[in-house]
């Protein structure tokens, strides 16, 4: 592990380092560009802290092993990119259903299909939200720098442990493969899952207002029934509609109740802004440059950067729509998050899109031009 202090490292290394600091002791993965450095670093560093790196035969197996390890007590993760993320979806769905804490990193690359393996995109944002079958709420964080690869990976583990669910880190090939300075703090805040203390435990429901049940582990004598089939609070398979309806309501509601705490947006110069640029991850970088240039030229422009993409901060965007005339959404896909923005805005201000695909980041100039059009 890196010593506390300043280091020049790749985004992917910062992510792995954050995972280790957050207490990750199990990594299962399958090689894929541009996420490989995470696995490589974990294979080197995990054994040094008594953890396990296992290279599985495919991404389906990787996700499965992560869930198995989590129920055995590990803080566990995997890292992949678009094609591998697709393969993981069935077991990610299983993790929602069984309320298994774990972290899945998707270092997004340009697709569809094999696409441009070495080049970045933000095309998996809906796969992160809706890729798995069934109903659930997703939690996804979007780092825009090497430092945030570290910080948000730590946060992803803490949220996963607290909410008892998979949490996604949506990085991209640019941030993952970029070297930048990383400050490793002396200590990070680490959250551990709530475990039963008595001899009895109801692993799949709770009276607690958080709606997050305690999580027992294998080998503790609880005679656990963990199943992806509909189940009673005890875990016993039961297809009776009331059990499944309650379950689905609860795994959604537990996230929505925690939304104010999950919510993570960075506001910049929005006070008097007529135009707001909304972006996240790598594409927020040229966006920020453009907003600063515009401010330098006395344009009333601000920025809203989303560090937690899911659940979508509807309330924040809705409030923003009251104060600005246009929101310029900048993303490295053909326009995905803009739909969420339009939904939150509900016609109260104009919404426009700066979009680049093909493995390139929108440029500062392109965003600046869009700002220019927006201020008229």
């Amino acid at each position: 592990m890196l010593t506390p202090g300043r280091h020049l490292v790749l985004g992917n290394i910062a992510c792995a380092e954050g995972a280790l600091r957050a207490g990750c002791r199990f990594f299962a993965g399958y090689p894929i560009t541009p996420a490989n450095e995470i696995a490589q670093y974990m294979s080197q560093e995990l054994p040094r802290v008594g953890g396990y790196y296992v290279q599985m035969e495919d991404e389906l197996a990787s996700m499965a092993a992560v869930i198995g390890a989590s129920w055995a007590g590990a803080k566990a993760m995997t890292a992949t990119s678009g094609p591998g993320f697709s393969l993981m979806q069935e077991n990610i769905s299983y993790a929602y259903m069984t309320e298994t804490p774990c972290v899945v990193v998707d270092v997004q690359r340009s697709g569809p299909s094999t696409g441009q393996a070495t080049m970045p995109s933000q095309q998996d944002v809906y796969q992160a939200r809706y890729g798995a079958h069934g109903d659930y709420e997703a939690v996804a964080l979007t780092p825009w720098s090497v430092q945030e690869m570290f910080d948000l990976t730590v946060r992803a583990f803490n949220l996963a442990e607290r909410l008892r669910m998979p949490v996604l880190l949506l990085a991209d090939g640019m941030i993952g493969h970029m070297s930048e300075s990383l400050i490793v703090p002396e200590e990070v805040e680490v959250v551990d899952r709530r475990r039963p203390t008595g001899p009895e435990c109801t692993p799949f429901d709770t009276d607690d207002p958080s709606l997050i049940p305690e999580m027992p582990l294998f080998g503790e004598g609880y005679e656990l029934l963990v199943t992806g089939s509909a189940h009673r609070p005890s875990g016993r398979r039961d297809y009776t509609p009331i059990y499944m309806e309650r379950k689905l309501w609860r795994i959604r509601e537990k996230v929505l109740r925690a939304e104010p705490e999950i919510r993570d947006v960075v506001e910049y110069e929005l006070g008097d802004a007529e135009v707001a640029v909304l972006s996240y991850g790598a594409s927020a970088r040229p966006s920020f440059g453009a907003v600063r240039r515009a401010r330098g030229r006395s344009l009333r422009v601000g920025m809203l950067r989303l560090r937690a993409l899911w659940p979508f901060p509807e309330e924040v965007v809705s409030r923003l729509a009251e104060g600005v005339e246009e929101i310029v959404v900048v993303e490295m896909n053909m326009g995905k998050i803009i739909r969420e923005v339009e939904r939150a805005v509900c016609g109260r201000c104009r919404v426009s899109l700066v979009s680049r695909v093909g493995g390139v980041l929108p440029t500062l100039g392109e965003v600046y031009e869009a700002i220019g059009r927006a201020v008229r």
Binding site: Y52, V54, E57, A64, A74, F218, G221, T227, S229
Partner: protein, 344 residues
Amino acid sequence: MSVKPLSYYRERYIRFQPSPFCPGCGNGTILNCFVRAIDELGIPRERVLCVSGIGCSAWIPSPNLRGDTLHTTHGRAIAFATGAKVYNPHLYTVVFTGDGDGAGIGGNHLIHAARRNIDITVILVNNLSYAMTGGQIAPTTLHGLRTTTSPYGNPEHPFDLVKLAAAAGATYVARWTTYHVVELTRSIKEALRHRGFSFIEVLSQCPTQQRRLFGLRGPMRTLPSRIVEMFAEGTYLRGRPLKGSYLYALPEGDPEEVLRDVGEALRDLEASARLVDHIAFGRVVRVDAEDLEEAAGRLRALGGLRRLADATEGKIEVGVFVEEERPEFTESLREVIRRAEVRP
């Protein structure tokens, strides 16, 4: 083997009654052999983790068996089990899977877990079809058999799962059937004690789907025992000479008629003839004779027969096929930790 009443096992190991299986299913037999094995080994329940996927076999441990159970997605049980076993090697980790689950959709995980030699026991229940979904072709369905997706006979060939597991590196490999309950129980005990990847294939009866598969006629309640008898008839023990001398006469038309003709032809010989269900040939006449050559000669001259088959033709070999030592995966991972710690 000590004899304990069924109620002893039921109270100690079974969580819910009744069982979810069709009447006459082989899964109950396998569950029975499994709880006897862990009981005889004295393994405490809290150290047993049973992992399963999707299909009838998955319901053997979940939710019936007391102890930790992880009922996972289709085909991935071994991969889930790998994560749990790596992080907590003290768990006796047992995967219950089926032929479709373990050798079809999950075949990749099976061979890779065998290659790693991770200390997991896989009990693969082979009913030769996808039974839960309605009896479709499985990777174990014999060539030519009729299923709901091979109405004109299966154009594919089955895996020999024992050879597959052995070639992939499993260090304990056995095959039994639901007829071989004593041998199966012993094998499960050996597999649980074995340090490394152990694989047991169990041929199991599925009266619901194998009725069509084997073209069996007759009342439903007669099928379970008939199929189990077919397993007895259709298998031979590895490394043991066959008991007695016999052959099979494969009838062209009505087996009853052929049985009468065969009886007539062999009347003056020290021989007996009866109808049996053969796993590869269906309803056939089994002929036991002192002078097998003489009997075969007479039968060849007889009309109404497709041909004769010798005692082992088309039969399935059962027994323990592999039992060897090789570094075990979780132990190797602990060695990795030791090496990483000493490196400056």
